[in-house]
Amino acid sequence: MATKDIAKIAKDFNDAYKNIKHRIVICGGTGCIAGGSLDVYKAFQTEMEKRNLPCSVEVTKGCRENYLSLSGCRGFCAQGPLVSVGDIFYTKVKVADVPEIIEKTLLKGEVIDRLLYHNPANNQKSKTVADIPFYAKQQRILLADCGRINPEDINEYIAHGGYAQAKRIYLEMTPEQVCKEMIKSGLRGRGGGGFPTGKKWEFARIEPEGKKYVICNADEGDPGAFMDRSVMEGNPNAVLEGMMIAAHAIGADEGYIYVRMEYPLAIKRIRKAIEEAEALGILGENVFGSGKNFKINVMEGAGASVCGEETALIASVDGMPKVKPPFPAHSGLFGKPTVINNVETLATVAKIFEMGPENFAKIGPATSPGTKTFAVTGHIANTGLVEVPMGTTLRQVINDVAGGTTNSDGTVNPEAFKAAQIGGPSGGCLTKEHFDVPLDFDSLKSAGAMVGSGGLVVMNEKTCMVNVARFFLEFTKRESCGKCVPCREGTDQMLSLLTDICEGRGTMKTLETLEDLAKAVQKSSLCALGKTAPNPVLSTLKYFKDEYLAHVVEKRCPAGVCKALAKYEIDPAKCKGCGMCKRACPVQAITGAVGKPHVIDPKKCIKCGSCKSTCKFGAVKIGA
């Protein structure tokens, strides 16, 4: 089938769009849906109907003056559900707010103060997205359209210039030129490794074999990161267009998107986008009349994070994880030359061609150009997705964009910052001393850290770094495929050593063994999962040795997290002597007369925590 004329699609869309006076966008990303945004969407529909207001849910010829659409994640999930009416931006919107929004904002243009974003740092309210520091301080290229356009309407993507680059490239550029332009842009893979994308394509391009594949790695194995999910949910067509360009560059006619099945919404939107693209002939045979074919299949991963590692991923499309080399550019899926790229990498490609590779190369440092998206979570004022130029510092990301570290009760306190884990279980931690190191591949590497995939978990002083290392090891141990001994046994052993330390059985010898083992696993594991598994251990040992020492020498957890090392105490000033804790204690460790402060006998206490959860006056605390 011939590809439909995209210039006409864009024009028709823009003509129809002129009818629209007010656009209401409700965030339909995973986070906001969890907060009830779909009900808010329905409430808008019903309320508009009830008031007989002309409303469309699609942009088509003759559409009406109010347009109601969902969007993908806007990266500000903790403030969700998000709703915007024109430029006015509302947070934490509930179904009950809908009639008022229609009455005041839609019909009269009035702003409802209570729903505006309230900045805890300076007590100011923001009316539009542009006024919110979280957004204003970002540079959104990849995420520019996420949250603005309707991800389930390919026409809107096209009206924003979508598929124009694919068309130009298929019709006017040779594969060699495409690779050259990509090399010129300097784009480095966003999946964690930072391998130059243009070079990766060039390797696959020069392979002679006929059948080749492009794989989009959407396994997002870092637990606690959601950059890739948001891009797929918010702008799935950008991923498809990137894959098309990659396919042209290497001479592939088939692609796979490997998505983890924990992302049902991303899968749904990607499938919808593929269907729409096929219906327009953008995917399929003879695309744009170029004589080339390209089709995309979706594979759902079944919850093994090692599959995000590229060789394992290929194998799991084929059958089961196995070992490299050969590297996939030479022999990948079904033994054919294959390019694997991360979602974010691919979704950036069309943007690079749109702005020109030279211009892209000018953003950020020369050796790691472009922007990078971080999923900033943990003890931070604004949890969310942050896209900034590479080379931005941790200080800028955490304090300026994300609003600063918070105490455990949520109040902002930049002083409470302890560490940020970057790159998930294969990453390492950044500390105060890295605060001003530019976040780019090379600077971080020379500082002994890494950019990783973009998960950035901010931790405050109340976080125990030994516990964090143990947490990651638990994860990697579970994920180890068990094929090679160093990783299978090594992660298991490291985990039990860390457990010993957390539970007060650690000695100096334990620390030594742990470090030796970590280095051995790093060296001798077969694949990158094993090779990177010790990173959290080694980096916490490096930067938080004192904390490990406190655990083994003083049998003390300075953050008060490790239960077995906790010392339960009753604050005599707060204790009312009600006796509740005494009754809750399974080992009669608590004594005291009615109405008098009670005390805990540390020798008897088995640290079960019952007293603390029982006391209504917050008198039981964990001392360090």
């Binding site: 986070g31 903790a78 637990p223 606690g224 959601f226 924990e262 969310g384 994860f475």
Partner: protein, 158 residues
């Protein structure tokens, strides 16, 4: 053929008895049976002409597959990094205590609840996250977790 294998037979047919599609086949079978019963896995192996060991291998490798029966209500507590640092361990403890689950036990004796600890549901902005029968709840505390369970228990008692 006994009725028991009918759903599996249909799924195999839909996938053209293609052993390369083992993972999607098992996903569908799990949806139909709520878990992967051993006899059904043997049946699939037989029909696809592959060894049962291969099917068991795949079923135990991927965290998503369950080879023991699950409870009527599935409680998933996220223990991804973002949720972990925001205190998901306390929520897991509270759920275990409330449901009287021993260490290593996932499903209650009465098959009413299964507790699953999962790594990141992609809603990290709302951490810590708990999912009760596919409804996502954000910024959960141990007390809120207990309330949510109470609601289910109450609805069941009716």
């Amino acid at each position: 053929m006994s009725d028991r294998f009918k759903p599996a037979a249909q799924i195999l047919k839909d996938n053209n008895y293609d052993s390369a599609k083992l993972i999607p086949i098992l996903q569908k079978v799990q949806d139909a049976y709520h878990f992967l019963p051993e006899d059904v896995m043997r049946y699939i192996a037989n029909e696809l002409n592959i060894s049962p060991a291969k099917v068991f291998g795949v079923a135990t490798f991927f965290a998503h597959f369950a080879i023991t029966p699950k409870g009527k209500h599935i409680i998933r507590v996220c223990n991804g990094t973002a949720c972990h640092v925001k205190g998901s361990a306390g929520i897991i403890d509270a759920v275990k205590k409330k449901l009287k689950l021993k260490d290593g036990q996932e499903t209650t004796e009465d098959l009413l609840f299964t507790l699953e600890c999962v790594s990141c549901l992609g809603a990290c902005g709302l951490a810590p996250v708990m999912v009760v029968d596919d409804v996502v709840h954000g910024q959960v505390t141990p007390a809120k977790a207990e309330e949510l369970l109470d609601e289910v228990i109450k609805a069941e008692a009716k």
